[in-house]
């Protein structure tokens, strides 16, 4: 799995609540049985004036000159709600997004981020507002530096925001662990559970 340790980049504001995964990657953009080739369709309904011919919408935040090369998204409440499609995260990752800072996340989307080396950071809206004020002057100059081990977002020496993330989520990202391998390390426990469970709930086993 893709590691995440530190990241510095341009941040772009998509400050709306309830941005759903249909908006992040419309169903119609999920054309193949594949995790790849999705970034072109990311935010397609908002990003293009003419989706089929890929005519960019100059007003969409990621199309604006000042946010070119953005790798950090700032958003509102419940980012990534809706459909479980991991394609939303695959599209964001392929586009180059490494960090999403939002008030809260859709639960499935958040897990999908962790599985693909994107760091989901939850912050109160007041702090997100402060970060927005800071980057607004010149997003290309006012980059954000994120250090996962230290749990910090650094804007300037005197503007450092601390965030919380569970230790195991952080470990997965910091070490780029494969969750399947990690779980299989506890295979003895799984087998023992199953043996006992077969006696307790025999009807479960087909």
């Amino acid at each position: 799995m893709r590691k995440f340790t530190t990241h510095a980049g341009v941040a772009a504001p998509l400050v709306r609540n309830n941005i759903d995964t249909d908006a992040i990657i419309p169903s119609v953009e999920m054309k193949r049985v594949s995790r790849h080739g999705l970034s072109d369709g990311m935010f397609a309904a908002w990003r293009y004036l003419d989706r089929e011919n890929r005519v960019p919408n100059p007003d969409f935040v990621l199309n604006r000159e000042r946010y070119q090369g953005a790798s950090i998204l700032l958003s509102g409440i419940n980012f990534g709600c809706g459909s479980s499609r991991e394609h939303a995260v695959w599209a964001l990752a392929e586009y180059g997004i490494r960090v999403i800072i939002a008030v809260s996340f859709g639960v499935i989307f958040r897990s999908n981020c962790l599985a693909n080396g994107i760091l989901p950071i939850s912050l109160p809206s007041e702090l997100i507002e402060q970060i927005l004020c800071y980057i607004d002057e010149d997003p290309q100059k006012h980059k954000l530096h994120i250090d996962l081990a230290k749990r910090t977002i650094t804007a300037t020496d005197d503007f450092i925001v601390h965030f919380d993330i569970g230790d195991s989520d952080a470990d997965m990202l910091l070490n780029g662990l494969d969750p399947v391998d990690l779980t299989l390390r506890q295979d003895d426990q799984i087998r023992a559970f199953q043996q006992k469970d077969r006696l307790n709930r025999p009807w479960v086993y087909l």
Partner: protein, 479 residues
């Protein structure tokens, strides 16, 4: 201190407590569909890994298949065939049960899993589909996951999960006539927002829940994800136990008796602690309908499109203005004045037999308005056959509805069928997001009864109003 139903289900499936609120949970059933399951299966094959419990894994074709009569592997959606063929080949190679096109057990995943007894009370069930929470209506611990987690669950039989907090939503007093489970969940989300359940497993309780049918409880729990909950749950009761009896994959004989006895213990203890409690008085719930582009944009059907100027939060206000623009509506407009171009009855929310019956009953002797395109898509091939045995298909078609094969159909747009740009649809589905039913398509979520009534008048209509007007019309007067 006592345990909640969710705590009990969590503890029953905990293989290892990892500390910090995390655990390895044992997964009893995995369901896949051709949309997202195909990728998980392909990825497992690619890594030369294997499915741990193939007999506990099921696959259906629902998301991409067409619902036109006489359908095959070709789809209106470009490249749909690839999803279907990949899924079929991978399912065969993995030795897992597939409910293929043409199979009489085929249908929408969350409709067929209770129908076949694959989802049962007390089981953990996951599927790479967000509406897996529907099965909480049976008292199963069921939730949607991504494809990577599906791969994890398939290969290890386990998922690593941080335990959500406990919430209880109690529905007190009785539902008014014409108010359904769909109206209850829309009302809840409208009042407490689309993020209201974030971080929580939500148990629905109270006298109004006790009186709901099992199928209605599936509808209610279906939209727990629209409330941003980890999942929804209803404690199993006698109705649930009866519902499971004799289902294809349900236990039989002595095993069934033991299972049923176990299921009866799956209730929240009287002294269980909930981190959050919400109360809703059902007397306040009217048939509900959405006006905007989030399920939280819900109002009572006799209400009006809200006024953004009255919203103090700037982010929410901007969202409302944006939604009004997308929906082509003006603040203050009565919902019942809004004309509709199309009516859709279907989806994992509202396409079970108990959804089709009241809609058909309403439509008997009535007809869809001239300019309205109306489509009904049964939730499963079994539902379709049962409905046809009762003659519901004829009522729908005589009323002017198209009667389809089972599948997810126009609940979402994948490049195939849509009602079209700018078309306004009254729909029994679960998501009114921008573009969900097609580019520029405007969705109003409602119950099957409201959809049936609106289809007939060509504008958003409360079924009860029409029935009342007809019953008080003097005899012999013109129709």
């Amino acid at each position: 201190m006592g345990k909640t139903l969710f705590d009990k289900l969590w503890d029953l499936h905990t293989v290892a407590d990892l500390g910090d609120g995390e655990a390895l949970l044992y997964i009893d059933r995995i369901f896949l569909h051709e949309r997202t399951g195909s990728i998980a299966l392909q990825s497992i094959t690619g890594k030369n890994r294997h499915i741990r419990m193939p007999s506990h894994v099921f696959v259906t074709m629902d998301h991409i298949v067409d619902t036109f009569p006489g359908r095959g592997d070709d789809t209106l959606m470009p490249s749909g065939r690839e999803f279907i063929e990949t899924t079929r080949a991978e399912a065969k190679a993995a030795g897992i049960q597939l409910f293929d096109i043409g199979d009489k057990r085929q249908g929408i995943v969350h409709v067929i899993s209770p129908e076949l007894g694959i989802a049962l009370p007390g089981l953990t069930l996951v599927c790479p589909d967000s509406h897996t929470c529907s099965l909480g209506g049976l008292g199963a611990l069921a939730w949607g996951i991504g494809s990577t987690d599906a791969e994890h669950a398939l290969t290890t039989g386990i998922l690593r999960i941080r335990k959500p907090r406990n919430m209880r939503v109690t529905f007190t007093s009785e539902l008014k006539p014409g108010v359904t489970a769909k109206d209850m969940i829309l009302h809840l989300i409208g009042r407490f927002t689309a993020a209201g359940g974030n971080g929580h497993a939500v148990e629905f309780a109270g006298p109004a829940i006790d009186s709901l049918s099992v199928e209605a409880r599936l509808t209610l729990c279906n939209m727990a994800v629209e409330f941003s909950a980890f999942t929804g749950l209803v404690a199993p009761d006698e109705k649930t136990i009866e519902f499971t009896r004799g289902r294809t994959y349900a236990p039989r004989g002595a095993a069934w008796k033991n299972a049923a006895a176990h299921w009866q213990s799956l209730i929240s203890d009287a002294d269980a602690h909930f981190d959050a409690e919400l109360m809703i008085d059902c007397a306040e719930i009217k048939p509900s309908v959405t006006w905007g582009t989030s399920p939280q944009h819900t109002v009572s059907i006799d209400g009006c499109v809200p006024e953004p100027d009255e919203e103090r939060d700037p982010v929410r206000r901007r969202a409302m203005i944006r939604a009004l623009d997308y929906m082509g509506l003006k603040p203050g407009e009565p919902m019942k004045n809004i004309p509709v171009d199309a009516a859709f009855i279907g989806s994992c929310t509202n396409a079970r037999l108990s959804d089709l019956r009241p809609a058909a009953e309403y439509l008997r002797g009535r007809h869809v308005a001239e300019a309205v395109r109306a489509v009904v898509v049964p939730g499963s091939t079994t539902v379709k056959a049962a409905a046809e045995a009762e003659g519901l298909d004829r009522i729908f078609t005589e009323a002017g509805f198209e009667w389809r094969e089972s599948g997810c159909s126009m609940c979402f747009y994948a490049g195939g069928e849509t009602f079209g740009l700018g078309k306004r649809v009254i729909s029994t589905t679960n998501r009114n997001f921008e573009g969900r039913q097609g580019p520029g398509t405007r969705t109003h979520l409602a119950s099957p009864l409201t959809v049936a009534a609106s289809a007939c008048t060509g504008k958003i209509t409360e079924a009860g109003d029409v029935e009342l007007a007809e019953s008080t019309r003097p005899q012999g007067s013109a129709a």
